[in-house]
Subunit: 320 residues, 2 copies
């Protein structure tokens, strides 16, 4: 009976004994998160059945860093350099020419349209398996230009704890990113515990074909979906088919996702990570070219959204 006694002990251990969010200071955001999770999981007027405990998270700047530019852009630039010998035309064609000259500022000046052209040129034509392998290979060796860390080591420890705490309380956690769905999926399960079927993102169109007797999915050089701003609630609708009750973001690209999530009936939680820590991470908001947060800061108080001041609320930033 010893194993049964141990089982009994484990079952009887109060769940609240350990702090589920040890990297969070004991401020209002932590208390609000714990209170929300507590009330939706307890029988009572705010109880939410497990099937409806859907939580959505932005990725860039919310689960991992996004400065000095989106990490996927570093991947794309490295792919351009790798593929350049096969594309002599890129030495004169923008934005490729700027990338090859190392002039990132000019390369990014082409905006979303240019990034899309670069993504299409470097991602399209690959099979889904080839693309996933290329992302995994790149992440295994690439280092961030400022921190020197591997990109997947620049994920936020407090957010990992939040993901775990939600899942331990019956939530299904999703990523809803403006970044590429196929770029995030290959590593999201290992790094965040989020399986590919719970990743939503921007995408190129794809086609199914049988190549030399072997079926493959090919990425096409044509935009399928941009999962940003008003696209985020649409992506949530297409992929999840019900309204989340918890949404976390960090930029005005997440505004509509938080608005859609928190305007439903019953208990709702909206969270904005505010990048205030120039020392341990990066400090930016209203004027940033990446992850601009302005409308969200203005409207958070009236909408009841929790703004997390990284510098004040987080004991640790990156995963140790």
């Amino acid at each position: 009976m010893r194993s049964l006694s141990l089982l009994f002990f484990a079952l009887a251990l109060p769940a609240a004994a350990a702090d589920p969010l040890p990297s969070w200071n004991d401020g209002a955001p932590k208390q609000a998160i714990l209170a929300f999770v507590g009330k939706v999981t307890k029988e009572g007027p705010d109880f939410v059945p497990p099937a409806e405990r859907i939580a959505v998270f932005d990725n860039d700047g919310c689960l991992w860093a996004e400065q000095p530019m989106y990490f996927q852009a570093f991947y794309i630039f490295d792919r351009i350099k790798e593929l350049a010998p096969q594309h002599p035309e890129w030495t004169t064609q923008e934005p490729f020419a700027s990338v090859l000259k190392g002039d990132i500022k000019s390369a990014l000046a082409s905006g979303e349209h240019g990034l899309l052209a670069m993504a299409a040129a470097t991602h399209a034509g690959l099979t889904s398996d080839e693309f996933a392998a290329s992302v995994i290979d790149w992440l295994a060796t690439a280092k961030h230009p400022v921190t020197g860390k591997a990109y997947t080591d620049m994920v936020y420890q407090p957010m990992l704890e939040l993901l775990d705490h939600l899942r331990a309380n019956g939530f299904k956690t999703f990523i809803v990113s403006g970044g590429g769905i196929d770029f995030i999926r290959p590593w999201a399960e290992r790094v965040y515990g989020i399986p590919p079927e719970q990743v939503i993102g921007s995408s190129l169109k794809a086609a199914y074909e049988v190549r030399d007797g072997k079926p493959v999915i090919i990425k096409l050089p044509e935009l399928n979906f941009i999962d940003d701003k008003a696209g985020k609630p649409v992506g949530i609708h297409q992929h999840i088919g019900r309204r989340p009750i918890f949404a976390a973001g960090n930029s005005d690209g997440d505004f509509q996702m938080l608005e859609w999530t928190t305007s439903g009936e019953g208990p709702r939680f909206g969270l904005l990570v505010h990048h205030t820590d120039a020392e341990r991470e990066f400090a930016y908001d209203r004027e940033s070219h990446v992850g601009k947060l302005s409308k969200g800061l203005d409207e958070a108080p009236a909408r009841g959204w929790t703004v997390v001041d990284m510098k004040g609320e987080w004991k640790t930033v990156y995963k140790p």
Copy 2:
């Protein structure tokens, strides 16, 4: 300690004690299913980690009936009659005119293009909540013209048992349907135990907007995705992001889904429901205007797919 003893007893009860597929005769298909589930869940060369146990199911003709036409078409026809007073132009405009005259054959003669036009005309402009409510309301009262049953009572009991058996063994079950994703989601959880985020289907585009201060998702009269034939592996890629190990269908519209699923490495299972029971259901295959099954029958033996002869293998057809 009585409750602990009961717990111990429940844990010790051999899982194989009860037949997990009681509505299946003891033929080769049932044995093949049980053997497959057994080997992928046991430590050994064929073990598959739970996260990779993805099973995909066609809906029309695989989980519920599809004759004399897709049930969603009945819904669309009823919506056309309901909306006709607001659309006087429909009395002369095909395929609407034929629907209003009760001439279903002519209405369907317009093919996929016509069905799409009718879906767009009757679904678009509704919010996601309004559309879901409209489907639920319709299912609550509509009856099948041949059986007189509610449509959701025309689901196949043996397939419900198969879904349950897979889930009890750590599989995630998905619907991958040529039908409308928003048409299936409102009832798939109640009827099949499949949550909305695990339903993939054809869709119209959608938009997010704030109407009178209330955020809504609006269905647009523009095709987003057709989840049929070569579209099924693409839909699986976009929504799930990994290759299933188990696929079930019943028509040549499922051919590529089974091909994609069963051509991966490791243990794989392809299943085709063959409609052979004119007495208890409908008998059709190579010449049917709905759910045509020809190439699948030809190639199943060489591809190792299991063909389920409904008449011979199923003790019960519909959910009792």
